[in-house]
Symmetry: D2
Subunit: 287 residues, 4 copies
């Protein structure tokens, strides 16, 4: 299917009669066919309504501005918060990595295989570990040493690159550095992290060591948006794998990394497909 004639529309507003009728009639009258639709309401009478549509139309990509302008009155009528994504404009993703390149590698291979609908203009890392693999994809690799004492300078350099490359999404692929509130504020709900535990269990550092000490029988991973509260951001996806008494901390790390790469990949994929909406520090995921 040719996706260049497609767009996605995300809408949220107070739930009330007539929303779907108004939007679908608008789209019909503007020559756009609805090919996917998901909706959710926190409560049909007084709650908040969320809608995700994928639409398709002849030469839709040429009508982007026209459609957006024409939609404004519909949006105003229901006091909508709304966002259009036209698929001929790919989102631009920066990956932040560090020493462990398992997640970085997975994202690059899934992207190469056509499973992540994005451009990846650069990778930033505080280690050289990922350079060879990243450059083999023709992607620039920026090595910026980082530690907590030079956080501000490091972030200044990073922000400059992110702006230069017009980045829409930052993926922390086991980046392991804490970001300042100022940095996070620049990309609200646009930074995805992978935490190597089943949150909220084992918040913070060394989750596999803590998991081993507690003697859990499953270990997990969580992909979530980054907020100012460490490991407290809205959860996008989680998964687990089975371990037993024979597994030492090192074994948990190895097995955990295979869960992490999948959980991060899914979170990033769904974000890029505009399936994830943040509401009340939680996510609505339209799958």
């Amino acid at each position: 299917m040719n996706t260049k004639h497609r767009a996605r529309l995300l809408v949220s507003c107070v739930d009330q009669p007539g929303i779907v009728s108004a939007i679908s009639t608008f789209l019909f009258e503007n020559g756009a066919n609805i090919v996917e639709s998901n909706q959710y309401t926190t409560n049909p009478t007084e709650g908040r309504f969320f809608l995700r549509l994928v639409i398709e139309g002849e030469a839709l990509e040429q009508k982007e501005e026209e459609l957006k302008t024409a939609f404004q009155p519909v949006a105003d009528q229901f006091q909508m918060t709304w966002k259009w994504s036209f698929l001929h404009n790919k989102k631009r993703t920066a990956i932040f990595a560090s020493k462990d390149v398992t997640c970085l590698r997975e994202l690059l291979y899934q992207w190469e295989g056509g499973n992540l609908d994005t451009d990846i203009p650069l990778v930033i890392s505080n280690h050289e570990a990922g350079r060879e693999i990243v450059e083999s994809f023709g992607i620039p690799y920026y090595y910026i040493p980082a530690n907590k004492d030079i956080r501000k300078e490091v972030e200044a350099k990073q922000l400059e690159l992110l702006q230069e490359y017009e980045i829409d999404l930052i993926v922390l692929a086991r980046y392991m550095q804490i970001l300042t509130p100022e940095f996070v504020a620049e990309y609200p709900a646009e930074i995805i992290n992978i935490h190597h535990s089943f949150l909220p269990a084992f918040i913070g550092a060394n989750p596999h060591k803590k998991a081993h000490e507690r003697g859990v029988k499953l270990i997990g991973a969580t992909s979530h948006y980054v907020t100012d509260d460490l490991d407290e951001g809205p959860i996008i996806e989680q998964d687990v794998g089975r371990v037993d008494h024979r597994d030492q901390v090192e074994d948990l790390k190895k097995q955990g990394s295979l869960i992490e790469r999948t959980v991060l990949y899914r979170g990033v994929k769904w974000h890029l497909e505009d399936r994830v909406i943040v509401h009340d520090n939680k996510t609505i995921v339209f799958n």
Copy 2:
């Protein structure tokens, strides 16, 4: 939430512009709010379109006939196949059981717990095994001995009961008897069976024995609609569980029965919630 003011609408037709607009505008004008919506198209330009809506409205249950009549012209315009379910009218389910009552028990307990939105006016069995449990729920239990030599007579008695009790759905909870094409024809896509394997592996009798002989590492279960071709009907749900070389046929049966009860429960639940549409011997399941 009070579900008596709710209805579900299932629609399918050739995909074409304006369907959602027409339906949602119709509903809006008739005072019905859309609270759930799922759609699927086999192809946006020439394929078949499927829609499931849950709607809510003040005193909706009193407007059943009015709404159905008013909807007819919309349906005609797009040559729709359509079905209304008003939630104040519960579907009526008959359970067919035999000796192994694990699935029967699960359905009754899930029903008691409010997880199956149906009435269960009777249970029919060719064994006495389930009588005590069924009657403890105040449900009539009909013991009708059955075997392949008396199939026609047995089915005649069963059909009489099903008609007397105005049954909408028949669940074969490990009933183990083959139904004649004549019987199946009376309830198209309204008979759900549980097969004790991951279909299409191990079609037919003794799947656990075959699974043991083949040395599989997972065993499964499949809930599906009954058609004339044994074990070939549209699959609604499947799941699996892990086994190993130590498990004998008896162990597979025991472990399998825990998978079966869950897979059958899900299939029945989704059918009762009008989430399952049969198309081309496959199911669309709107979850």
Copy 3:
């Protein structure tokens, strides 16, 4: 297989050369064949060694005292901690229940199906909810109202019953009352609880409410031995199920209860089969 001629031997001691040789030679010389064997060592040179054997022999059940006496010198040589279980003597299990009978019911049905190798001489509950189902199995049902103000008196009555019925294992099947340290001390590693979360996430009361607030994408359950620290005892088994943004607290409870019944059943089954050894507030589970 006739299990009455079988016994299980659990051994732990400092790891050192010759243990398996000594034990297996002892068994061979005493006419007992090893039919299952599992071992684990925290470290082969200086760690702790754990062994579980299932043995079989002609008229083994008649040689119980003789074998135990003869084994003493072997045990002494390696300063073993050891425990024999002769299968002709079933363990005796008391189930403590409350209002939600899902776990209670599962244990009774698994027991009826031959999957829990135990006698169940009584059920104690602070609600009448389970009486009918329990008595239908011919098991005495003791209704003992309980709350935190009368904890001591309640436990005194319970302990009296447990001693009268010679109970080896107590299963808290969603009992929901906290036990005093004095009670717990009477049954060390012999009280199994089911916690309705994936521990250590959501310790304490209302885990489903907390899970809903945090917006997790999986919910879990944990069976563990009860110690003085609430929800901190050694974990036997855990499992999870998938949820999404549409699930309210009530939905999590319903879906959670299906995970809980399975996780509790497995924990109890493994304990009864002497597969679980507590070490260092964790469990070794020989599956």
Copy 4:
């Protein structure tokens, strides 16, 4: 842990009293400590007995010949089939690949991460697709075009390479070519294949197409030893993933490849650790 002082012993024989005693006493007297032990018997009185031991001893690697010679009388006494693996001698694995490199890549990365205890002296492929990744690991890449018309010549070249490089295990990482019985006979239970379905469902070509046509709700993968009967060899490992009505054949392929890489990795890992024993066209997997 230093594994060079370790060895594994696999034994099978008719079950009879005294086997474990004889072996463990032999090991104790020869200064070898048992650090892992697994056993299985098809029947304790007349069946076949299987044992896997991991042993450790000072300078064990220098006593290889001595130990093997000394063990012979013990083996003879019980008419054992037996195999020693001394861990200082790594098994040598050849990977056969083709166009889809997902499985090839996974094996190389797991190997790089220390999770596959083997040498990989070469990769053979009938496509150039994997050359860059393979050579980046310093592993020779042999491109040998293959199709069914030149099977004999191709296999002659392959066998020459396998013998030159002294290969112990061949992994077909989506190699997609059928091997002749003559080739298979050279490596009995030493060729592991990944089949892209949950066997025995969808035997043969195009399993994802068949799965799509049947409308299954889970797709799977199977790693198995290659025998003369296509897709009928002993199953080592299987796993599945969830799909739905929206997934087309291409989607099943993409999702399937993530299951395949894991299922093949596990099968290869377990084989390399001598955890897999073939018996009666099934596997005993000691995990």
